[in-house]
Structures are given as structure tokens and as C-alpha cells.
Amino acid sequence: MPTVNLWAKDGYLSTPDGNSIYFWGFAPRPDGPAQIPGPHIVVRQGEPVTVNLVNTLASEPVSILFTGQSNVMAGGSPARPQYGPGGELVSFTNHAEPNGGMVSYSFTPTHPGTFLYESGTSPHKQALMGLHGALIVRPSDYDLAAPAYKTAYGFGTDTEFDREYVLITCEIDPDLHRAVERGEPYRISRFKPRYWTLNGRCAPDTMFPDNAPYLPCQPYGAMIMARPGEKVLLRYIGAGVENHPLHPHGQHTRVVAQDGRLLRNGPVDCSYKRFTVLVGAGQTYDQIYQWFGLGYTPENRIPTVLPNIRNLGVGEAGWTMWSGSPYLGLKGDIPVGVTSFNEAGEYYFMLHSHEEPQITNWGEFPGGMMTMIGIYPSLSPDVGTLAMG
């Protein structure tokens, strides 16, 4: 039976403009840093799960809601809202008291899918402070080795995938975080986010690898990598309180499930294609994304006429993600003085919030809720995987 242990802790996250922001997050080890988002919990449909929460915060209780799961137990009894001495609501579910209190949740996932776990205590503060994460439930017939069974929702649901990525959206208002740090009044009515994050990171940090040592509290990258035609499962999760229209350049996604429920009624396929998916607060969207290129075929490897290299803007910023060649997998000449970050003749496309003030870091473009999709000529099968646990 999988057991997940989480410690609610405080820490400091980094933003690319040099800011260091106090936050609350879940840590996977008692001696490890808090992280935003919390550790991905990856389990299997039908197998009981236990999540133990230890609250090391000094100021208030913390709890975890597993929206989309049924019959969640806490300490062996059905999880229930918690009330204070005056009958006032404190938590939507059983909580762990501050300074080392503990609560143990258990449930058996009945449906595969993508879910948000988040604090159910003072959620106007705690969800935004970072106490949230992703719960991924594999279908009961999931089999990594058999393509027809490597699916998001089970055999025959048209949700097979080659690689998968989790993108969790959130917003950060540094003034509110500082108020919590200093124990000052938390005035949510003044909520004015300055940073918009994917997996707790702002661009360009979103494109850095998982577990980058210089981002100890933000272990999850948001770079999407695949080969042409591969089925990429994108799991969007809205963890903040605002909606974000996420949009990959160049290709539609097919939304196959929402809130961890397959978009299918018996024989009727209700999945749909979108250019932009509005990631609503507290909601999840599973999509299959395939890059086929703009007319790209093996016979027609370059479907457009390129301008002369001197007329391209590649030299302006002194760096580029262009390989110097229009052919996938090939590299060519780059103007003198320009650094190419292109590794293997891959193509790059942006994936970002279409609410464009959000692709800044405190107003400075580029930044915020933005990452890249890299289409590679060849790619290790280890890229774009999520381990169980």
C-alpha cells in the first residue's frame, strides 16, 4: 500500500529577477526543503493510499483536501470539516495542529486521472502560500511496457501517450507572502499578483531541468520535450485563485478529461480540441498534444521559404534557440557573436498564458507563466516520465 509522507514547512522560493519569497510548502522528507508545488503523488486506481501530514508550521493548522476522491478517511474515521470552540469553521477536512501535529489520510482512488491536492485550512492564505500539489492516478490496467496500456484513463479510452508532463499554474503576490512572513495582517482583498508560475517557477526558470540545484524549493521544471508525432500527455492543474489561458504555439491540444474524469459517455467521445485552454482555479485538464509540424513530412522537410539569415532577428539579443538550419536535427551557421542554445537541431515553440501581462516577472518581459516545447529529432525515452510514488 503506497504511503506518502508530507511535512508542511516554510521556505524561500526564487524568481528569475532575483527576488526571494517566503512561502509554505510540502516537503517529502523531514530534513528536506519545502517545495512548491508539493511532491507529485503518483498512485494506481484501486490501490489504497495513505498520506501522512506533519505540520511544522508554528502559526496555524494545515490540512489536505483530495478533491475528486471519495470516502477519504482521516485517522481511521471519515474525514470531516473541523470547527473551532465557537463553532466557526476552521478547516474543510481534518487538520494537523501546528508545531508538529500530525494527521493521516487514506483513500482508495476509484478513478484514474489528474487531481489537485491542496490545503483545506484558511485556503485564501494557504493555497496561495504554496500548500498544494498534483495527485496522479494511473488506471488500474496501466502498463508502461505495453503501448495500448500506457494510457491516462485505461485501455481503449484513446488516451495513449508517449511522454507526460504536469503543469501547475499559480500566482504570487509578494506583499501577501511578506505579510505572512512577518506575522502582519493578511489582507487578501489587496491581492495583486506580480509573479505567475508554472510548477512554482517563473520563466526562464521554467525551462531549467527538474531538480536544478540552484532551485532547491522548486524542483519541477516545465519544459516540454518530444519527437514529431509523439503523443504528449499534458496535465494542466490550476492551483491558484485565477484562471489562466494556456496556449501552445503551433498546434491544438485535445482535451480528453477534466477534473480527473474522462470526457466520454459510453460510446460518445466528448473530447474536444482547443488552441487555448482556460485553466480554471482548482480544475484539471488532461490533453493529448501531438506535433506534426506545419506541413512537415519526411518528403517535405521544409514547408516554407526562409528569409535570409541576415534578415532574421537572431542576433538582437545575443542569443537564440535557432539551430542555424531549418531542417530538424541539423545545425547550420549562426551570425558571429550570437550564441545558439539549440542542442541538436530541435525546434522550439512557446507555451504560455495568453493573458500576456502574466508572461512577465513583475512587469518585465519575458518571464512568468511561459515555457518552451522542444521538438527533437531523437530523444531519450526517459524524458517526460513520472515515477510512481
Binding site: T67, G68, N71, R80, S122, K125, N243, R261, N265
Partner: protein, 332 residues
């Protein structure tokens, strides 16, 4: 085909919100009744002829009523008799989205339409709507399929008729929205208000903020907010939630841990006998003016807090819990 006549009197009133009172403009169902938020519910059956008689001797502004989702709305009044309701202009400028009533006259304007299809719809002011809708001039229309109350009829206890997957045991309408108390104070005193300063500080379900949402219907302390929104339901029963966003903000309705099936949007069912495109959700975003019908069939007992997942809206004066939140109590 019955005749449904609804009187709507525009009045000034007072809302009881946590910690304070806030003036508002609302519709009352008679001359002697208090105005309510939301306004009186208009109930009709498909095919009914609905007449809405609007009167105003309370606020010094033109007022009107719009019926988004209804077609062929007619206006009856002197001196022109009956005509199609249409936008009104003055000197080439639009002054109202539909025919209006001049202020300060002991007269009325009557709107009429045939309720052609079942569903849940808003009615709201079409004149200075950026002020009047926020001040409280809105309500809901519920149109039922024929035979909805006849146990032998296939449409019995359905929201949209047989074959639409909308059979229910219990029904609860939740009109959600938000209030800017400063704006209410200003407009109630006849002062101006710049809508660009709109900054709501109360979030409501049926005109009440939590914990008042849990109080019973027709609570004597809340004469202008007669509708609570708590629900008691047994496991296995089908609870139809009719959620309508009358506010200016988008709100994200969280079912408190329950899983719902979204069966209709904006009064259009997602299922016909030929094709079922309804879908399950735990949380649903409603744009301003939109509605969703969601059927929840609780599987196990518990207390479930339905709420705005925009967690900055579950507070009263920056303090959790409050705002747009209510509770469903499930027993076995």
C-alpha cells in the same frame, strides 16, 4: 398554456451582510413587500405566456428588464400599444438596452414573452446595467417542461424533459455574485460612482454571505434576502444545483468534494435522446451571466462546503470563513 403574471416593483432596501448593512436596489413582488436579492423568481412552464409588469417610484433613474435567453420579447404600453422590445436611443446615443420606464411616474411597463424552452435564466436591468445590475436589479426565471409535476408524466421532476438526463429529487437554485459596498453606498445616496473603481468586498449566494447562507429561508432577520442555500440530502438522491452567475466577476464553483455531472449550460441541455455530451466536474468556472445545471448524487455521508474556488472570495473582511460558501449535509 397558462398566463404567468409577475409584478416587479423597483425599491430601495437594505441587505444584512456579516458585520454591517448595505443599501441596495431590488425588485419586490408587490407594493407592500420588501425588495429582495435576488429578485422574485419567475416560474413558468414551456408554452406559458409570461407577463412582467415593472413599476418604479423608488429610484430616480430609468429602469428596464432584459430577458437574456428568451426570444421575441414584446413590450406593451401607452401610447404605442405592443411592439418588440428593442434598444432605445436618444440623440443617436444608446440609453437603454431595451425599452424602459421613465422615473417618477405612477405608471408601468409590461414585458411579455412565451417561455419557449425549459431552463434557468437570468432577468436583469438593461438600463445603466453597470450600476443597476450591481445594485441588485436581477433575478432568475425557471422554465419547466410540461408535465414536470405529474408523477405519471415522463417529464416528471426533470429540468429539461425526458431523455435529457436531468431527472432530480431535490432542486436548489444558487444565484452567485459579488457586491461593492462603497458603490452601493454611493449610488443609494444619489452620488456618482466610477465603475472603473469597482472593488467588491462581499461575495454572496442568493444575496447572503456565509455563514448567513446556512440560515433558513425567510429568516425574519433578513427580509430582503429570503433564500438560504444550505441543502440536506440523503445518499443516492439526485440533487439538481442550478447555479447562475449574476455578478460581474467570473466565479469558480467548487462542489465541496462532491462530484457533479454538468447537464446543461445557459439553459441548453447537454443531452438529447440521441447523444449525451454531459460531463463530470468537481469545480466549474461560471462566467458573468452564465448558468450551469449540475446534478450531484452523493455516495456517502458528510458535510460538504460548496464555495467559490477563487479562495479570495470565501472571506468576510479578509477573514476566512465567509463570502461565497454554503453547505450540503449528506446523510445515509
Amino acid at each position: 398554456m397558462a398566463l404567468v403574471v409577475k409584478n416587479l416593483w423597483v425599491k430601495q432596501g437594505t441587505l444584512n451582510l456579516p458585520g454591517r448593512t448595505v443599501p441596495f436596489w431590488g425588485f419586490a413582488s408587490s407594493q407592500g413587500a420588501p425588495p429582495t436579492l435576488p429578485g422574485p423568481t419567475i416560474e413558468a412552464v414551456t408554452g406559458d405566456a409570461v407577463y412582467v409588469v415593472l413599476r418604479n417610484n423608488a429610484i430616480p433613474q430609468r429602469v428596464s428588464v432584459m430577458f437574456p435567453g428568451q426570444r421575441n420579447v414584446w413590450v406593451m404600453g401607452r401610447p404605442w400599444g405592443a411592439k418588440k422590445a428593442s434598444p432605445r436611443y436618444e440623440g443617436g446615443r444608446m440609453i437603454s438596452l431595451t425599452d424602459y420606464l421613465e422615473p417618477g411616474r405612477a405608471t408601468s411597463i409590461t414585458y411579455t414573452f412565451e417561455a419557449t424552452r425549459p431552463g434557468v435564466f437570468l432577468y436583469e436591468s438593461g438600463t445603466n446595467p453597470e450600476n443597476q445590475v450591481q445594485m441588485g436589479l436581477y433575478g432568475v426565471i425557471i422554465v419547466r417542461p410540461p408535465g414536470y409535476n405529474v408523477p405519471s408524466d415522463p417529464n416528471y421532476k426533470t429540468a429539461y424533459g425526458a431523455g435529457t438526463g436531468t431527472r432530480f429529487d431535490i432542486e436548489k437554485t444558487m444565484v452567485i455574485g459579488e457586491l461593492d459596498s462603497l458603490m452601493h453606498e454611493a449610488l443609494a445616496q444619489g452620488a456618482g460612482y466610477n465603475i472603473l473603481d469597482y472593488s467588491p468586498d462581499y461575495w454572496v449566494i442568493n444575496g447572503r454571505s456565509y455563514p448567513d447562507t446556512l440560515r433558513s429561508n425567510y429568516d425574519p432577520q433578513m427580509p430582503s434576502q429570503p433564500l438560504g442555500s444550505s441543502v440536506a440530502v440523503r445518499t443516492g438522491r439526485r440533487l439538481l444545483l442550478r447555479v447562475v452567475n449574476a455578478g460581474f466577476q467570473n466565479h469558480t464553483f467548487h462542489l465541496g468534494g462532491l462530484v457533479g455531472r454538468v447537464v446543461a449550460g445557459d439553459g441548453y441541455p447537454f443531452t438529447s435522446p440521441a447523444r449525451d455530451t454531459s460531463y463530470r466536474k468537481t469545480v466549474t468556472t461560471l462566467g458573468s451571466g452564465q448558468s450551469f445545471d449540475i446534478i450531484v448524487t452523493p455516495e456517502y455521508p458528510g458535510g460538504f462546503y460548496l464555495r467559490d474556488r477563487d479562495y479570495n472570495h470565501v472571506v468576510n473582511g479578509d477573514v476566512f470563513p465567509g463570502g461565497m460558501m454554503t453547505r450540503v449535509d449528506v446523510t445515509s
